[in-house]
Symmetry: C2
């Protein structure tokens, strides 16, 4: 890992990922393992004009200990000053940078039911503050190799070598070669053109078929658009919420999913990896989890966290020959794996996929019929033989995906 490459990456994160504005505050969430890189990002945020940069340091092993020893009352207690802090952040609207590097198995051993309960209880109080800053601040999720994460991917390599290999993959997928800021301008525009083609088609229903058993369809409301790549805040600041990103995505009609869909990559659910699972949908709702006992238990808990957790919130189209998939790596990390191939997400839909969402009242946004939930969990369904057929609102039928990639 050359320092100059890390510096280039840090600058990309500050300028293109979060697009820090002059005088804006910044919050960074990162593992203590990434302190060297975090300090570079902090400096680049200040150089971009940040007035103040704060850091929430993550230590998964501490979370495991806290869950072991703290009772439910303590874990779910939210102090008045914490509410005050959340309130203040709805005024200050700091940009947020999440540096992902965690061991996919890092929370193994935590009582899952307890963790779910805590998220549920804490979510009840904090959701309105999350909603209040939605679409009003820039945020970006990026990744840096952590030793345990790298060893999960490359178990037979030394710590150092494993980190180097993961860094090479990240380097490639976030387009650091040459002038990364220029690379991202081009890449974002490419995704935007793909979104435009999809939106011009005016798609009503997407029908998925694959040899793995996937036979599934989901409808759109006609009131949403496909997005992906950059986003704009209501105030008009353009940012890139995910690096890497390859997807064109939208939010479906909550009650429309029908049929069976199988996951094609493992999913990390609160630190636990679930593999070879599927869902059967009826009228939009998951009516059956398919898979082994562990998968069923874990996912049934996940989808029962609230009413919306068993409905879809996202439909995303990614060619199976994406740069992420071309690394040949299973990253065990949604940021990458969701940009490897087509996916869906259970849980909250994205209000910003609604046409002219920034001009609509909260009531009007509700009427569109997107799903709402405190969770949003992506799972991959793309495969080399995936076929997607679209039916448009004016009755045309056409192939969108063939042999796992764009047919349009």
């Amino acid at each position: 890992m050359k320092k100059s490459d890390l510096r280039k990456y840090a600058k990309l994160v500050a300028k293109v990922g979060a697009n820090i504005q002059k005088g804006q505050q910044v919050k960074i969430n990162a593992s203590i393992e990434q302190s060297d890189f975090v300090l570079l990002v902090v400096e680049e945020c200040y150089k971009a004009g940040a007035s103040k940069v704060s850091i929430d340091w993550n230590v998964d092993r501490l979370t495991v200990i806290n869950y072991k020893y703290q009772d439910l009352e303590t874990l779910t207690k939210i102090e008045d000053w914490e509410i005050k802090k959340l309130e203040r952040e709805t005024e200050l609207l700091p940009a947020r940078i999440f540096i992902s590097s965690a061991n996919p198995d890092g929370l193994k051993g935590v009582d899952q039911a307890k963790m779910m309960k805590v998220r549920q209880e804490v979510g009840k109080v904090t959701k309105k503050y999350r909603d209040a800053i939605d679409n009003k601040h820039q945020w970006t999720i990026v990744a840096m190799p952590g030793v345990e994460w790298a060893k999960k991917i490359f178990p037979n390599e030394s710590n150092k070598k494993a980190k180097e290999l993961l860094w090479k993959a990240i380097y490639k997928t976030v387009r650091l070669e040459g002038d990364p800021i220029e690379n991202w301008k081009k890449h974002s525009n490419n995704i935007a053109s793909k979104n435009k083609i999809l939106n011009d088609l005016n798609i009503k229903t997407l029908m998925y078929k694959s040899a793995n058993g996937t036979d599934f369809k989901v409808s759109l409301t006609g009131k949403t658009v496909f997005g992906g790549g950059y986003l704009d805040t209501i105030q008009g600041v353009r940012y890139n919420p995910n690096m890497p990103t390859e997807e064109s995505y939208t939010s479906p009609d909550k009650y429309s999913a029908e049929g069976v869909v199988y996951s094609t990559k493992p999913l990390s659910v609160m630190g636990n990896l679930v593999d070879n699972f599927g869902f059967r949908f009826e009228k939009g709702k998951v009516v059956e989890v398919l898979g082994d006992e562990f998968a069923k238990e874990t996912l049934e808990k996940l989808i029962s966290i609230d009413e919306g957790a068993s409905y879809l919130g996202e439909v995303a189209l990614v060619p199976f020959n994406s740069p992420v998939n071309e690394t040949g790596i299973l990253f065990y990390n949604t940021l990458f794996d969701e940009n490897a191939c087509c996916h869906l997400a259970i849980g909250a839909g994205f209000e910003d996929t609604i046409k002219d969402f920034e001009k609509k009242s909260p009531e009007e946004l509700k009427e569109v019929g997107l799903n709402d939930s405190m969770i949003h969990v992506d799972f991959m369904i793309g495969s080399a033989d995936l076929e997607i057929t679209a039916e448009t609102f004016d009755g045309k039928i056409l192939k969108i995906f063939e042999h796992g990639t764009w047919a349009i």
Copy 2:
């Protein structure tokens, strides 16, 4: 560093240093470099009955960057939620554990005047909350080797070897050999007996002489006692605020110091090392800083932070042949160096040195005439030839220290 030794140490910190009570919350302040040890301390706190353990992670390099880029307004801004948090802590009274491991030069490069101004402004707001928890909660300062700290002491050793050598010295001075909890029981009782002898003497004035030029006296108020070793909170919980500790200390009459006193060890002032300095006192106040330009500049800034910063708050007696001094190491860290030999401190006196302080009103405590300040900075004055003569309130003259160690 054997894991079993670290575990023993962590348990000592939780049980004897902070003496965590069942159901109590704990706050730990530590460098991210110490995460392995911190996690052991966290576990031992929970085992001792802690309900919740929170950690404030320190990163000196981040402080340096923040001071470089943030303006004074941002650095001194205290949000309402931060006040709410301080208020809440005066109710919850969490035990506090400070794990010291920082590079003594870690804050080099920070604009000192700016840092002083920030401490001053922030101190104005936060001091009342610090005062409100004084003597009501347990706290302890302990140390773990950091790489840069260790290399400062052992510059010619490898990182690993330097850390090992520093760990050996810490191991010895915090009495980890054998049963550390039992060791500390004996050690605390020894210090308590020494305090009793000093208190029974009823000392009025201490007169210091050394060949280095020290010719200095300071008086006590007659209303204070010598303490050291363990402390008891008002609620009656016994704890050890410093590990190691070797001192018998008290707070002098604010206006009594006269003459010249020279430091015998370097002092770290906000990340800067100051060496070969002295102070000339008149009527308790520093009227001259002695030393080179850098020492003068640094210390004159320090003593002008508030009115009390140029008066003494502590007088401490430590034999020159203490275990800390016997390691032969200059630690560049007050926690150790102040337990190597006799010292004084400019800044705040200790209310808990006042006889029956827990039964006195705030007004009565004020009347005793101890110094008050937002700072408390120890500096070492012990030497192998230091002589201290005492005059008692009933007119007796006797030698307290001869050849740098106890004469009583």
